[in-house]
């Protein structure tokens, strides 16, 4: 079985300071891992994905995440927060199911609050 835990329901930072959103996963197989962002009243947008290539993954808008198998973690970081980064962030684990399909499992989300 697979599961994903986002360790913080809310993270509050000041504009220009680093961002760290934490995610731990559990998967019986080598997982694919993703981070999605959801702005208010919008659909989810893919930030980045890990699919067993480089462990440090770079995404859009300056975000990156590091896959650490020994810690079963996939934390999302950004060196300097911008006001436009304020949104809900979801960590997602996915692995191959029967019939060649992939069923992503979402974490509960972390709300990123950015103060001026």
């Amino acid at each position: 079985a697979q599961s994903v835990t986002q360790l913080d329901s809310h993270v509050s930072v000041s504009e220009g300071t680093p961002v760290l959103l934490r995610c731990n996963y559990s998967s019986s197989y080598s997982p694919s891992l993703f981070w999605y962002v959801q702005h208010p009243n919008k659909g989810l947008q893919l930030l980045l994905k890990y699919t067993s290539a480089a462990t440090l993954v770079k995404g859009i808008n300056g975000f990156e995440a590091e896959f650490k198998k020994s810690e079963t973690s996939f934390h999302l970081t950004k060196p300097s927060a911008h006001m436009s980064d304020a949104a809900e962030y979801f960590c997602v684990v996915s692995w191959g199911a029967s019939g060649g399909s992939y069923i992503p499992t979402f974490g509960r989300g972390t709300s990123l609050i950015v103060h001026p």
Partner: protein, 111 residues
């Protein structure tokens, strides 16, 4: 725009009624997945359609059903609506790349 489109964007129903939500996938995608996102929660997987067949199903009752058409578009039907069915319903399309592209969602309110 070749992204995922969903309709309607908002709707209000009363308990016991039935609702149909629609989704057109991104151009080039052949797989459609539906998710339910309750307020303050992450999306929960309902089911996935591929080649007009339900391929995988999450932990949702039979009141939730779906369909995929030859042009890959999809419908989600919910019968005998309950107050707890109030949520944002998200459609996501994908192909072999295993990356989901989401629509903006249909917000259902059940009174």
């Amino acid at each position: 725009d070749a992204g995922v489109t969903q309709s309607p964007t908002h709707l209000i129903k009363t308990r016991g009624q039935q609702v149909t939500l629609r989704c057109s996938p991104k151009s080039g995608h052949d797989t459609v997945s539906w998710y339910q996102q309750a307020l303050g929660q992450g999306p929960q997987f309902i089911f996935q359609y591929y080649e007009e067949e339900e391929r995988q199903r999450g932990n949702f009752p039979d009141r939730f059903s779906g369909h995929q058409f030859p042009n890959y578009s999809s419908e989600l039907n919910v019968n005998a609506l309950l107050l707890g069915d109030s949520a944002l319903y998200l459609c996501a399309s994908s192909s072999l790349a295993n990356v989901l592209t989401f629509g903006a969602g249909s917000r259902l309110t059940v009174l």
